[in-house]
């Protein structure tokens, strides 16, 4: 614990960050190391190119969207707290963690996880997944053999399933309803090393 504590003291606002995200000190230190490793030029922040340099990530079909999720609203730089906050979406939900009645929901709550996915689709940030937006995601995710026509019909059908108010787009509410049966808490979580 000694080394953990000494590293922890170097990280600004570590205490608040842990409070906010629920990461343990060991998690934070580990993520900080990772953060610094990604920041190759030692500029003190991350930019999209740093993510692009991760070899495995580059092969991910929706990598640009995921990287985009880290850089909200036109920012070109990412500091450590934001980095941790984004990753905190993927912490497993823990029942024991007490919830402050006056504080907002935990970052890793179900609806926050859903919001994260939703904004991956919703690129123009109008609060709706339009047919076009869904189609783009599908195009990248599905294998090449699926033709454009098929893609379109899959997109149509997907929208139909969720679209309750028939505006040919999926709002967040509709999105949440359509995913009601899915165990998001489980499916949107990864284990972080301590």
């Amino acid at each position: 614990m000694g080394s953990t504590n000494s590293t922890l003291s170097k990280i600004p606002n570590a205490g608040d960050l842990m409070q906010e995200t629920g990461f343990s000190p060991a998690h934070i230190v580990r993520l900080y190391d990772r953060y610094k490793a990604l920041d190759k030029d030692k500029k003190g922040h991350l930019c999209p190119q740093d993510f692009g340099a991760i070899k495995e990530l580059a092969m991910n079909p929706i990598s640009d969207r995921i990287i985009g999720a880290f850089f909200s609203s036109g920012q070109e730089v990412l500091d450590f707290p934001s980095f941790v906050r984004i990753l905190a979406h993927f912490r497993p939900v823990d029942k024991n963690r007490p919830k402050d009645p006056n504080s907002p929901e935990h970052i890793n709550s179900r609806s926050n996880k859903l919001k994260f996915i939703f904004q991956l689709y919703d690129q123009d940030k109008d609060g709706k997944i339009s047919r076009q937006e869904l189609l783009q995601v599908l195009r990248t995710m599905l294998e090449k053999q699926v033709t454009e026509e098929q893609l379109e019909s899959i997109a149509d059908r997907t929208i139909q399933e969720a679209d309750l108010d028939r505006d040919d787009a999926i709002s967040f509410d509709e999105f949440r309803k359509s995913m009601e049966k899915v165990n998001i808490e489980h499916k949107m979580s990864i284990r972080f090393l301590r």
């Binding site: 990772r34 929706i62 869904l134 995601v137 294998e143 309803k177 359509s178 995913m179 284990r191």
Partner: protein, 849 residues
């Protein structure tokens, strides 16, 4: 309950008949000094007057019981066992609180009692050889083949820990504790040593997959719990058999000769047997996959290869004294994906159903015979201390093992297994036929107390299957175990699941951790590049995108529902209605002469679809229980076939009752095909013309129709091959292509779906549109077709699926999904629907959420 009493009557008659046969056989047997029950010669005692030893005249009919005796008895027993299952299923009151396996065992008691009453001895027993060679393999193959692979492999670590360590723990703990009690004098004087106790412990350690599935399938627990219990029970069978063999070898070696070297050999052989068996299974899985790449030519027996090779993998492993159960398990698990992709859709269906028939059939027989076997005075040796202590230890150590192992595993799990789940898991430690089979195959010369062991094993089996099975449902309810909420297939969920995979993998990359998702992805990539290339047909490779196949499946379901709906409303002619008025059922029915049973179905109106059928329709994704679900679809499918054949072309139908050993083609004359085709083409041409002015200009006309239909509409494929392909007509090809892409293409998508399903004309269509517009059915007359053709926006206002009709029909629906998609298909278009729309959200909320 009329069918029930009739059935019980039938069963009684059969039983009496069977008992008569048996009695006569036994009489002969005793006189003719035959030993084996199966190979004795038969009776002349009950023969008709003509048969006698020396023939004086030419017999017209002779009674040759002994000729057919063995197969006859086998068939009779199969029939009786299956009737027992039927009775158990029919009696819904009993079924609601009794698990089926328990009911079967109890009916086994009754049957055994009857046989015993007739023979004064138990002539029928579950012989280990029959059990291991003829009853068990198909069950294990079935479970392997239908294993939810992703779930299985993502939990493989935990399953292995439970299956290997848990089983060893159980065997050792039970054996040693019993030995300790024996030394303490709790069970009197027995000729039994530590090794025998360990052997006994190992045969009791196996949680039986048959019993476990039978119980857990009924309670629908959540999927992680299910796969843990199920996977464990499947793998630990293999482990138990291995353990049993090792201890058996030790016992025959004798206590004195066992030294450290032998023990190490035993441990080594444990691993060799287990992994070797699995490896054999994988090898056979590769063989099957490779073979199915080429079996398209003999499509009619294609399905059989799976069974033969699966069985061979079992026998091969047995021959090499490797674990046969593990072999056939992994054979099924590994081959399923490639087999399903390689084979024709029909063969896949054939395999699925045949597999279920075999597995369920032999499962039923196993349970019944577990009951029958008990009614026998020979095997019952009572030793209160031994039996009760065994029961106690088996239960207690199961709990201890599960809790301890789960506690360790939970430290490494993302989502820990909760205490409640652990209790259910421990409680689900049902012992079954494998334990009995092993006990019965003990060697009496070496193990003096064999009968006591059999007795105890049987009691443990009955206790766990009947009592624990009985209390499982209440327990699950009482503990409020997380259950699988019956969900239906939704494309949006699947799309998002795909997105999750990518997102999680990306997050692991970013956070710099090599985790499960990394492994999954790495494997997937390896599989994509090498394995699928090696094991899959090229055309299957193209078609294998999972999301697409889900989409395809949903569309097929919709198409079927669409037609079912249409038939419920009287006749398919309603499709042509232009203003959405309600069909006059009576008139249509009389007109088309639909059979009376359709009438009666209509008479019941709204209440004829019971809520149960709706529930049954939504089988949870992990459930291996496909039969109810699929059966229903088959039925509908079949009904439609029947209707179409019966009524559509009656006037000129010349039934050529064609028998073909290798083909299933519906007998449909060439003329009919041609005519249907031409009509369709004509109507499509019309629709194309009208659509041309309308919405979208025709898209890429070229090449798609050629390429796409083959892999999408594999349903229609075979009929096409056997006949002259309609596409052969050059003239029509262009119009087909045109209409397919005209407008929004919806109409043609819909109609091609249906035609594909019923293999009506073999006309295939690449456009796969979820909107079910008004497809001009091929069988409507020309005049009618002209009024309803255009799938253009303008025509959509006259959809028959206008909400006014729909909400009347809603209670009749089998699956609400189709309601939704149809409703939504209307959405963009019509004024009518917007008038009616206030009613729909409420309805949808009711059915959907």
């Amino acid at each position: 309950m009329a069918p029930y009493s009739q059935l019980s009557f039938l069963l009684t008659v059969l039983l009496i008949f069977g008992a008569l046969c048996v009695t006569s056989k036994v009489q002969i047997q005793s006189s003719s000094e035959r030993q084996s029950a199966s190979s004795n010669t038969g009776s002349t005692g009950e023969s008709t007057s003509n048969s006698s030893a020396s023939i004086t005249t030419v017999p017209i009919v002779t009674w040759k019981w002994h000729h057919v005796e063995t197969p006859y008895l086998v068939a009779l027993w199969i029939l009786v066992c299956w009737l027992c299952k039927l009775m158990a299923q029919l009696n819904s009151k009993l079924k609601s609180f009794f698990p089926e396996s328990a009911l079967l065992i109890i009916s086994g008691f009754i049957l055994g009692g009857i046989v015993w009453g007739a023979d004064k001895a138990q002539t029928f027993k579950l012989v280990p050889r029959n059990f291991f060679y003829f009853l068990l393999p198909q069950i294990i193959l079935d479970t392997g083949y239908f294993m939810p692979n992703k779930l299985f492999f993502s939990n493989l670590g935990a399953i292995l820990v439970h299956a290997v360590i848990g089983t060893c723990w159980n065997a050792a703990a039970v054996g040693i504790s019993l030995w300790g009690c024996y030394l303490g004098g709790a069970m009197g004087n027995l000729q039994i040593g530590l090794l025998q106790f360990l052997l006994f412990g190992s045969l009791l350690a196996a949680v039986d997959p048959v019993a476990v599935i039978a119980v857990f399938e009924e309670v629908h627990v959540n999927e992680v719990l299910f796969i843990w219990v199920f996977g464990e029970s499947l793998l630990n069978d293999g482990v138990t058999v291995v353990l049993y063999n090792v201890f058996d070898a030790f016992v025959s070696l004798g206590g004195e000769k066992i030294n450290a070297g032998e023990i190490i050999k035993g441990i080594v052989s444990f691993f060799v047997v287990a992994f070797g068996g699995s490896l054999i299974g994988v090898v056979f899985a590769i063989l099957i996959s490779l073979l199915t790449k080429y079996t398209g030519k003999v499509q009619i027996i294609e399905a059989g290869f799976i069974f033969v090779l699966g069985y061979l993998s079992y026998l091969t492993a047995e021959m090499l004294s490797l674990s046969a159960i593990l072999s056939v398990t992994f054979c099924g698990v590994c081959c399923q994906k490639y087999v399903n992709a390689n084979m024709d859709e029909k063969s896949v269906t054939a395999v699925r159903y045949a597999m279920k028939v075999f597995a369920n059939g032999s499962e039923t027989m196993i349970f019944v015979f577990l009951g029958v076997t008990a009614i026998d005075t020979d095997i019952w040796v009572w030793n209160t201390g031994f039996i009760l202590l065994t029961l106690l230890f088996v239960l207690v150590y199961r709990f201890m093992g599960v809790f301890f192992l789960t506690w360790i595993l939970n430290r490494y799990r993302l989502v820990p297994i909760e205490l409640i789940d652990q209790i259910v898991m421990s409680f689900g430690g049902l012992r079954g036929a494998v334990a009995y089979g092993l006990a019965a195959s003990l060697d009496e010369t070496r193990i003096k107390e064999k009968n006591l062991m059999i007795t105890t094993t049987l009691i443990v089996v009955y206790f766990t299957v009947i009592l624990q099975g009985l209390t499982m449902k209440p327990l699950v309810k009482w503990l409020k175990v997380k259950r699988v909420s019956p969900t239906e297939l939704k494309l949006i969920e699947k799309v998002n699941n795909r997105a999750f995979e990518h997102i999680l993998a990306a997050m692991e990359d970013i956070s710099g951790r090599i985790g499960d998702n990394w492994w999954t992805r790495g494997w997937k990539r390896f599989e994509d590049t090498y394995i699928t290339w090696f094991l899959m047909k090229p055309e299957a490779r193209k078609n294998r995108d999972y999301l697409f196949s889900i989409f395809h499946k949903l569309n097929l379901e919709d198409a079927i529902n669409y037609v079912t709906e249409a038939e419920k409303r009287g006749s398919l002619a309603f499709l042509n209605q232009t203003d959405g008025t309600i069909v006059n059922f009576e008139k249509k029915l009389r007109f088309s002469g639909v059979m009376p049973d359709i009438m009666s179905e209509l008479d019941f109106g709204n209440n004829n679809v019971q809520p149960t059928s709706v529930i049954q329709d939504t089988v949870p994704s992990v459930s291996l229980n496909i039969h109810e679900h699929e059966m229903k679809r088959m039925n509908e499918d079949f009904n439609a076939h029947h209707l179409l054949q019966q009524h559509l072309y009656r006037s000129r139908k010349n039934h050529r009752h064609k028998y073909s050993r290798s083909n299933f083609s519906i007998n449909q004359s060439e003329d009919e095909v041609q005519e249907i085709f031409q009509r369709t083409m004509r109507s499509r041409l019309e629709s194309f013309k009208s659509a041309k002015m309308g919405v979208t200009p025709a898209k890429k006309i070229t090449k798609h129709p050629k390429k796409d239909p083959n892999h999408k509409m594999s349903n229609g494929k075979t009929t096409d091959k056997s006949k002259k392909h309609p596409y052969g007509d050059e003239d029509f090809e262009f119009s087909e292509a045109d209409s397919a892409y005209s407008g929004d293409g919806g109409a043609t998508g819909g109609s091609s779906q249906r035609r594909g399903t019923y293999t009506m004309g073999g006309v295939e269509n690449p456009a796969f549109m979820p909107e079910m517009d008004t497809p001009p059915p091929p069988w409507v007359t020309e005049a009618e077709a002209d009024t309803s053709v255009a799938p253009s926006q303008g025509a959509q206002r006259y959809l028959p699926w206008s909400p006014r009709n729909l909400h009347r029909l809603a209670p009749l629906r089998i699956s609400d999904r189709s309601t939704d998609s149809f409703l939504m298909a209307d959405a963009p278009a019509t004024e009518e629907s917007s008038e009616e729309s206030p009613q729909q959200p409420s309805q949808r909320d009711g059915t959907h959420m």
